[in-house]
C-alpha cells in the first residue's frame, strides 16, 4: 500500500489530503507560516501522520508522490521580493517593456479605475533602464539572419552587468522563437564570461510571437526562478531527510503538475498554482456527479473568483495579467470578478447606494470582525439580515458583532438614504446578488456560452450565502454546494487527484493551410521533447495522452483562437479539417456569421500537452445516509428575499444532515466551512457525498 498526498498552501491555511491505494482518505489543516511556507507544509504532514497514527517518517516512506500547490512565486511578485535581473534585447527595442503596447496602463484594472483615466499609470518597468542593454543583431520574420550577433557587444554587456552586481540575465531577441541561434550564442558567451550567472532565453521560456509579452514573461521567470528554487530545494532536502523517496510534484497553473526541479526552470508556470487545485477538485467532483458544464465560483472574504468547465474540461487561457504586465503562461482561466464578502457598501457622489469594487480586505475586514473596520461590507449585511450566525460563523471560529455591523450600516447607508437599518442591509444583499449575476454572466457569455447550459458550483465561506439568489437571476439549472468531509480541504483533494501535465509550444507563423511537412514536423518535434521530459519525471504513470492544439486566426486579426488538432501524421484533408474546426469554434465564441473566411487564415502557434495519469485517483468520502427527516436546530427571523421581508426560517446544522435529506426554503444551513441560504421557493437535497444540490427555477 502506498500514499498520494496533496498539500495546498494558501495565505492563511495549509491544507493536506492523503489517499492510499486501498481507498483510505484523510484530511488535515495547519496554519500557513509566511514568509517560510515550508514550516506549514511540514506541519500539515505531521497532522496527517498523527491522523493515521504514524510518524511523519513512516508516512513519507510509504508516499509515492506529493502534489503541492504553492503561493511562493505569486507572493514574490506581489511583494516585489524578486531577484535583480539584467535584460538583453535587440538594438532598437529595449523600450518595448516600457511602452507595453500601451495596454500596461490599464490592463487588469476595474472599469471604474479605467474610467478615471487621469489617475491611471503604468507599473514600474520590469527592469530599470540601467539594467537593459541593447545588442546589435537582427533576425527577420522568416528566421533569416539580417545582422549577425555582435559578440563583443554581448561580452561587454555581460561584464558591465556582472560588475554592477547582476547575477541573473534574461535574454529576449526579436524573432528568437523563429531562429534561436543568437539567443543560444549569448548563453554560451555569458557562461564563458561568468559561469555562475543564471540565464533565461525567451525562445525557451516562451517561444511565442509578440515580443512584449515574451520579454515580460522571460524577465518575470528570471526574477522568480531563484525564489522558487530557494523554497523548493531545502523543502525537498528536508523531506528526503524524513525518509521521503517519492516525487515532489508542483502544481502548475495549467492544470497539471511537474517535478519540483522542472517547476523551478519554468517558474512562471507556478503563478497560478494555488488556483488550480480547486479547479481539479471541481473536475473530479463533476465526474462523479455527471456534470459536463460548470461555472465554478469561489467567494471568500476578499475575492470572488469565477472559472468555467465546458465539456468536462476547464477553460484555459494562454496569457494572464499580473500587476498590469501581460505574461504568457498556460493557466486555468479563473477570473477575479469581485471583492467577495469584504466588498464595501458606500454612497456615491450622487447619493446612490453602491457595493464594491473596493474591498475591506483581510485587514481590517468587515465591521463585524471588530478589527477596526468602519465601512460596512456585504458580510456585515449578511449578518444583520440573520443569514449568517455571529456565534457560529465558520464553525464558530470567529465571533462576529451584529451591533457593530448594524451601527455601520445604519449610519453610513440607511440614514443617508432615508431607510431603516434593515432596509439598507437588504438593499446591500440584493445589490450584491444582482451585480454578481451581471459579472458571472459576462464571464460565461464572453466565453461564447449560455448560462442556462451550466450548473453552478459554489465554494468559499461567503459563496453559498448568495449563490442561490444570483443563480436564479443568472438562469443556471442547478447549484451545487460542495460540502462533505472533503470540502474543507477541497484544493488539497484536487492536488492529490491531479495529473502530470507538461506543455511544449512554438510559434511558426504562416498562412493556412500550412503544408503537411511543416505541420507534422512541428508537432513531432514538440512531442519528442515532451516524451523526453516525461521520462525525466521518473514516475509510474497509469497512462500518457498527448493533446495537440494550434492557434489560428483570420489574416489581419491581432488575436488567435486555440483550436484542437488531431494526433498522428496529418494529410491535407485533416489539415483542412483544422481550419474548419477553427471556423466552427470562432462562430461559437464570436457569434453566428462572425467569421471572415474571405480574409484567409493564418496559423501562429503550435502546442502539445502531455498528460500523464498518476496511479492513485482518490474517490470522495461517502456521506452517512439520513435515517430521519431533517430537523431544524432552531428557527430565527431571516431576511432572504426583498419581496418577502423577514421570515421565520428553519436553521439546520449541516453535521446533522444525512445524505438524502430534503430541505426547502426559506432555510439556512450552517456548515463548519460556510453558510447556505435557501430562499423560499427553492429546494435542496444532500447527495451521497454530502454535497447540497439545489434546483434553481429560472426567474430571469
Amino acid at each position: 500500500m502506498t500514499y498520494a498526498i496533496g498539500v495546498d498552501t494558501g495565505g492563511t491555511f495549509t491544507d493536506g489530503f492523503l489517499a492510499s491505494t486501498d481507498g483510505m482518505l484523510v484530511s488535515a489543516k495547519a496554519h500557513s507560516t509566511p514568509p517560510d511556507f515550508s514550516r506549514g507544509f511540514i506541519n500539515v504532514l505531521g497532522e496527517l501522520a498523527s491522523a493515521i497514527g504514524s510518524s511523519v517518517e513512516e508516512l513519507l516512506s510509504k508516499t509515492e508522490y506529493i502534489v503541492h500547490g504553492t503561493t511562493s512565486t505569486l507572493n514574490a511578485v506581489i511583494t516585489g521580493e524578486v531577484a535583480r535581473v539584467g535584460f538583453l534585447t535587440t538594438r532598437g527595442h529595449g523600450d518595448s517593456i516600457r511602452i507595453m503596447n500601451l495596454e500596461g496602463r490599464y490592463a487588469g484594472l476595474d472599469p471604474s479605475a479605467v474610467q478615471n483615466i487621469s489617475r491611471t499609470n503604468k507599473p514600474a518597468p520590469l527592469v530599470p533602464y540601467r539594467d537593459v542593454i541593447e545588442i546589435d543583431e537582427r533576425i527577420d520574420h522568416k528566421g533569416a539572419v539580417i545582422v549577425p550577433l555582435d559578440e563583443q557587444g554581448v561580452r561587454a554587456a555581460v561584464r558591465k552587468l556582472y560588475d554592477d552586481g547582476v547575477r541573473a540575465i534574461a535574454v529576449s531577441l526579436l524573432w528568437a522563437f523563429r531562429n534561436p541561434v543568437h539567443e543560444r550564442r549569448i548563453r554560451e558567451i555569458v557562461q564563458e564570461e561568468a559561469a555562475e550567472l543564471y540565464v533565461a532565453l525567451s525562445h525557451e521560456t516562451s517561444p511565442r510571437i509578440r515580443e512584449y509579452t515574451r520579454s515580460a514573461t522571460t524577465i518575470i521567470n528570471t526574477q522568480i526562478g531563484p525564489v522558487l528554487k530557494g523554497y523548493l530545494a531545502p523543502l525537498e532536502e528536508e523531506l528526503r531527510a524524513k525518509k521521503f523517496d517519492g516525487s515532489l510534484l508542483i502544481m502548475q497553473g495549467s492544470g497539471g503538475c511537474v517535478q519540483a526541479a522542472d517547476a523551478s526552470k519554468y517558474a512562471v508556470g507556478t503563478l497560478g498554482s494555488v488556483l488550480t487545485g480547486g479547479i481539479v477538485g471541481c473536475l473530479r467532483l463533476a465526474e462523479r456527479l455527471g456534470h459536463r458544464n460548470i461555472i465554478s465560483t469561489d467567494m471568500g472574504g476578499t475575492t470572488f473568483l469565477a472559472g468555467l468547465v465546458r465539456d468536462g474540461k476547464p477553460s484555459t487561457t494562454t496569457t494572464t495579467v499580473l500587476h498590469q504586465h501581460q505574461i504568457n503562461t498556460a493557466m486555468v482561466d479563473v477570473r477575479t470578478i469581485g471583492a467577495g464578502g469584504g466588498a464595501i457598501a458606500w454612497i456615491d457622489g450622487g447619493g446612490n447606494l453602491r457595493v464594491g469594487p473596493r474591498s475591506a480586505g483581510a485587514r481590517p475586514g468587515p465591521v463585524c470582525y471588530g478589527e477596526g473596520g468602519h465601512e460596512p461590507t456585504v458580510t456585515d449585511a449578511d449578518l444583520v439580515l440573520g443569514i449568517i450566525n455571529g456565534d457560529n460563523f465558520l464553525g464558530g471560529r470567529k465571533k462576529l458583532s451584529k451591533e457593530l455591523a448594524a451601527e455601520a450600516i445604519r449610519t453610513r447607508i440607511s440614514e443617508p438614504l432615508g431607510l431603516t437599518m434593515e432596509q439598507g442591509a437588504a438593499a446591500i444583499y440584493a445589490i450584491q446578488n444582482a451585480q454578481t449575476a451581471d459579472l458571472v454572466r459576462s464571464v460565461v457569455v464572453n466565453g461564447g456560452h449560455d448560462p442556462r447550459d451550466f450548473v453552478l458550483y459554489s465554494f468559499g465561506g461567503a459563496g453559498p450565502v448568495h449563490a442561490v439568489s444570483y443563480s436564479a437571476d443568472l438562469g443556471v439549472s442547478e447549484v451545487v454546494v460542495p460540502l462533505g468531509s472533503t470540502a474543507a480541504v477541497f484544493s488539497a483533494y484536487g492536488l492529490a487527484s491531479s495529473d502530470i501535465v507538461l506543455t511544449a509550444e512554438m510559434s511558426d507563423p504562416s498562412n493556412f493551410p500550412v503544408d503537411p511537412v511543416t505541420l507534422n514536423g512541428n508537432f513531432e518535434k514538440l512531442e519528442a521533447e515532451l516524451a523526453e521530459r516525461l521520462i525525466q519525471q521518473k514516475l509510474r504513470l497509469a497512462n500518457v495522452v498527448f493533446e495537440r492544439e494550434a492557434e489560428l486566426r483570420y489574416t489581419m486579426q491581432m488575436a488567435e483562437v486555440t483550436t484542437p488538432v488531431p494526433g498522428g501524421m496529418l494529410g491535407e484533408a485533416e489539415i483542412a479539417g483544422i481550419g474548419a474546426s477553427f471556423e466552427q469554434l470562432y462562430e461559437r465564441i464570436y457569434g453566428k456569421g462572425a467569421g471572415f473566411s474571405d480574409a484567409g487564415l493564418q496559423i501562429i502557434t503550435y502546442r502539445v500537452r502531455a498528460v500523464g495519469i498518476l496511479p492513485i485517483r482518490p474517490d470522495l468520502a461517502a456521506h452517512e445516509r439520513a435515517i430521519t427527516d431533517p430537523v431544524p436546530s432552531s428557527i430565527r427571523k431571516v431576511f432572504l428575499d426583498t419581496r418577502k421581508g423577514w421570515q421565520d426560517t428553519a436553521i439546520y446544522d449541516y453535521r446533522a444532515l444525512g445524505s438524502g435529506s430534503k430541505l426547502s426554503g426559506p432555510a439556512v444551513i450552517e456548515a463548519p466551512t460556510t453558510t447556505v441560504a435557501l430562499p423560499e421557493g427553492f429546494a435542496g437535497v444532500v447527495d451521497t457525498y454530502g454535497n447540497l444540490i439545489i434546483r434553481v427555477a429560472n426567474s430571469g
Partner: protein, 662 residues
C-alpha cells in the same frame, strides 16, 4: 472652386434639440415616457440593480461588437462606441470605448426621430444606418452607426446604438483618406439615416447601396452584421429587464441616471470658482501642399453650475479634408468632459450635455457646412477642438484643491497617420494603417508626470500591435520603436513621452511600398502645457531616400539615429502620398503630452533621474529645466540654482546678478 453651401443641404445640418422639443417634433411616433413622480418613487435598491445592469448591457454590446467585428481598430484598439439612449435620443450610458464616437450618437437618433417618425416609421426589429456627420453618429464618413428603436407595447421605449470606424467607404484615395481632397465630393458620400433592418431582416437593397461604394465590401458587410448583432444583444437584454421590473421602473432609472450625472457635474462645477478660460488650437495644413495655419478659438466660461464653450472667431471652413461638422465639435468636447470632469461621475452624456452650452458659428472649420471636406475630421478639427477644450478645462480644474488632481495637460497633440499599401511578403495586396501613434504621451498632472507612451485620452483603452506582429503581417522591418528623449512637454511635472518608429520596406516582391502620411502639428506643437508648462515637441516625420542601411547591416550594425542612417533627408509635410523605395527609410515621431507648471520648479532630482533614463537630454536639462549634473549623474545643486536664476533673468530681460558671492 471656393466652398459654396449646397442648397438643400440645410436640413441635414443638425443641432440636437432638448427632450421636450424632440418629443414635439417626432409627432409621428408614440414615445414612452415617465414623469418625475415615477423617478421620485424609485428605491435605492431597485435603482442600483437596474443601473448596474444597464451598464453591463452597454458592456455586453461592446464585447459583442469586438467579438464579431473583423476590423482591428475594433477588435484590438477599442476604437468604437456602444450606447443606450432613452426614447428622445438622450444618451443614458456609454461604454468605456472611443469617447469621441459616443459624443454624437444622440444627434443621429434625434434627427431620425424628427425626420423618420412618419416615414419610414419605427417598428419592432427595425434598425437604421447612418454615416452622415452633419446628421451625427460619427465624426467622419468612416464612422458608421447602426441604431435601433426598442419598441415596447407599440411605443418607442429606448434606442441602442453602436458605431465604429470602417476601413474604406470609397472616395478618391484608399482608406477614404484623400490627402488632395478639396471638398466632400472627393470623399465618401455621406448616408443619412436609412432603414437597414426592417422587422428583423436586412434590407438587401439598402445594404447593396451601402456596400457598393467600398473597396472592401466584404469586410464592411461583416462589420454591418457585427453591429446588428450587438444591437440585438442589447435589445434582448433590455426587453428582459423591462419584463422583470416593468417599463416605468426601467425608464425611471434611465432618467434618474441622466439626472444623477447632471446633478453631480453641476455640483462639481458649482464648487469651482466662476471664470473664463481661453485658448487657441492650431492646425498647420488642411490638404496636400497647403502650408497655411488654421485656428480654433475657444473661450470657456464657467458660471454657477454650467459651462459655456464659445468658439466665436474660429477660422472659416476651408478647402481640404480637415474640417469637422457640429458632431465633430461635440466630439471634441465630450471626451474631455468625460475623462477630466467625470472620472468619478457616471458617463451619461444625456445628462452631462444639459450642463453645457455650445456657441459656434456655422461655416467655421469645426462647424462646417456641406460640402466642406471632412474626411479626416476625427483626427483633424475635432481633435484640435479636443486639444483646446482640454487646455481650458485643465486651467479651470487647476484652481480647485481637489479637482485639480483629475486634470491632464493636452495629450498626444495629433494622430500621426501612416498608411502603407502594396504587395505583402506573400505576394498578396494589402492596405493598412500603422497604429503605433496610438502610444502617444499623456499630459502631465498636477502631482505627477504624464504617462509615457500612455495612449490617447479619448480612448481609455487603446493598444498598439507588437513589432513582430507588424513585421509578420506587412513587408516592413523596424530599425527601432522607442520612447523619444525630450518628447514630453517640460514642466514642473513632465508630459508623457511620445515615441517613434523607424522602419524600412522588407521582403515585398515589388521592393517598396506605397505610403500615405497625414499629420499636422509639424510646424507648431499641439500638445500644450498648463500653468506655465511647456508644450510637447512637434510631430516629426522624415523620409530618408537612398539610405545606407544595407551597408550598415553588412557591417553588423543597427543604426540608432537618423544621422547614422545616411541618405537624403526629406522632412515630410503634413499631407503626402508617395512611394517608400527599397533603399528608403521612414521615421515617424508622434507627440507626447504637455507639461504642467514651470520647468524651473521641477525637482532637480527628478530631472537627473530623467536624464539617467534617457527621458530628457542633458542639453534640455540645462536649457529648459536649468539643471546641471555632476559627473555621477546627480543634480549639481549650486550650479542648478545659478543656472535657474540666469534663465529667470533672461526671461524678463534683466541682467544676471553676480552669483559668485553666494
Amino acid at each position: 472652386m471656393p466652398l459654396i453651401q449646397i442648397a438643400g443641404s440645410e436640413r441635414f445640418a443638425y443641432q440636437p434639440k432638448s427632450a421636450e422639443q424632440t418629443r414635439k417634433l417626432a409627432s409621428g411616433a408614440r414615445l414612452h415616457t415617465v414623469d418625475d413622480g415615477d423617478i421620485d418613487v424609485l428605491d435605492p435598491l431597485t435603482y442600483e440593480v437596474i443601473r448596474h445592469r444597464l451598464a453591463a448591457i452597454a458592456g455586453e454590446m461592446g464585447d459583442g461588437l469586438k467579438r464579431m467585428s473583423g476590423s482591428v481598430v475594433v477588435t484590438d484598439c477599442n476604437d468604437f462606441g456602444a450606447t443606450i439612449l432613452d426614447e428622445c435620443g438622450d444618451s443614458v450610458v456609454v461604454g468605456l470605448y472611443n469617447t469621441q464616437l459616443a459624443a454624437s450618437v444622440d444627434m443621429a437618433v434625434k434627427w431620425t426621430l424628427e425626420n423618420r417618425s412618419r416615414q419610414a416609421g419605427f417598428h419592432a426589429g427595425d434598425m437604421f444606418l447612418c454615416n452622415d456627420p452633419w446628421v451625427g453618429g460619427g465624426l467622419h464618413q468612416n464612422d458608421v452607426t447602426v441604431f435601433a428603436p426598442l419598441i415596447h407595447d407599440g411605443e418607442v421605449f429606448a434606442w441602442t446604438a453602436v458605431v465604429c470606424h470602417q476601413v474604406d467607404l470609397g472616395g478618391v484615395s484608399p482608406g477614404s483618406w484623400s490627402v488632395e481632397g478639396r471638398d466632400v465630393f472627393w470623399e465618401s458620400t455621406p448616408i443619412p439615416p436609412v432603414k437597414i433592418v426592417e422587422a428583423g431582416n436586412i434590407r438587401s437593397d439598402i445594404e447593396d447601396m451601402y456596400l457598393r461604394r467600398s473597396r472592401v465590401p466584404r469586410l464592411i458587410a461583416l462589420d454591418l452584421r457585427a453591429k446588428i448583432g450587438a444591437n440585438n444583444i442589447a435589445q434582448e437584454r433590455l426587453t428582459a429587464l423591462i419584463a422583470k421590473y416593468g417599463a416605468r421602473t426601467v425608464k425611471a432609472v434611465m432618467k434618474r441616471m441622466m439626472n444623477d450625472a447632471e446633478a453631480r457635474l453641476r455640483a462639481k462645477l458649482q464648487s469651482l470658482p466662476d471664470g473664463a478660460w481661453s485658448g487657441v488650437a492650431h492646425q498647420d495644413s488642411f490638404r496636400h501642399s497647403d502650408r497655411n495655419v488654421y485656428k480654433i478659438l475657444l473661450t470657456m466660461t464657467k458660471r454657477g453650475d454650467s459651462l459655456k464653450f464659445d468658439f466665436t472667431g474660429t477660422d472659416k471652413e476651408t478647402e481640404g479634408f480637415a474640417n469637422c461638422t457640429f458632431a465633430g465639435l461635440r466630439g471634441g468636447i465630450m471626451p474631455i468632459v468625460l475623462t477630466m470632469l467625470c472620472g468619478d461621475i457616471p458617463w451619461s452624456p444625456g445628462g452631462l450635455y444639459r450642463c453645457l452650452d455650445i456657441v459656434s458659428e456655422p461655416g467655421t472649420i469645426n462647424n462646417c457646412n456641406f460640402p466642406a471636406g471632412i474626411g479626416k475630421a476625427s483626427v483633424a478639427s475635432a481633435w484640435a477642438t479636443q486639444n483646446v477644450v482640454s487646455e481650458c478645462v485643465a486651467g479651470m480644474l487647476d484652481v480647485h484643491p481637489d479637482h485639480r488632481k483629475s486634470l491632464m495637460c493636452v495629450c498626444c497633440g495629433t494622430w500621426d497617420l501612416a498608411v502603407l499599401a502594396g504587395l505583402d511578403q506573400r505576394g498578396n495586396p494589402f492596405v493598412t494603417m500603422i497604429c503605433d501613434s496610438m502610444a502617444g504621451g499623456l499630459g502631465a498632472r498636477v502631482d505627477q508626470d504624464g504617462v509615457d507612451t500612455g495612449g490617447l485620452n479619448c480612448i481609455p483603452m487603446g493598444r498598439v500591435a507588437d513589432v513582430e506582429i507588424n513585421e509578420f503581417s506587412f513587408p516592413m522591418l523596424y530599425l527601432w520603436r522607442r520612447e523619444e528623449t525630450d518628447s514630453g512637454g517640460p514642466g514642473r511635472f513632465r508630459g508623457g513621452m511620445g515615441g517613434s518608429s523607424c522602419f524600412i520596406p522588407h521582403d515585398s516582391p515589388i521592393g517598396g511600398v506605397h505610403l500615405v502620411v497625414s499629420a499636422t502639428g509639424k510646424a507648431l506643437p499641439q500638445a500644450t502645457g498648463v500653468s506655465g508648462g511647456y508644450p510637447a515637441g512637434t510631430q516629426y516625420d522624415v523620409l530618408k531616400r537612398n539610405a545606407r542601411v544595407a551597408e550598415l547591416f553588412g557591417a553588423g550594425r543597427i543604426p540608432s539615429t537618423l544621422e547614422e542612417i545616411g541618405g537624403a533627408a526629406d522632412i515630410l509635410e503634413a499631407h503626402l502620398e508617395t512611394e517608400l523605395g527599397e533603399q528608403d527609410v521612414y521615421y515617424t515621431h508622434w507627440q507626447g503630452g504637455g507639461g504642467y507648471g514651470d520647468p524651473l520648479l521641477r525637482d532637480p532630482v527628478l530631472v537627473a533621474r530623467d536624464v539617467g533614463a534617457r527621458k530628457v537630454s542633458p542639453s534640455a536639462a540645462n536649457d529648459v529645466y536649468g539643471v546641471l549634473l555632476n559627473s555621477d549623474g546627480s543634480a549639481d545643486e549650486t550650479a542648478t540654482r545659478r543656472r535657474r536664476t540666469q534663465i529667470r533673468c533672461e526671461r524678463v530681460g534683466e541682467p544676471v546678478p553676480n552669483q559668485a558671492a553666494e
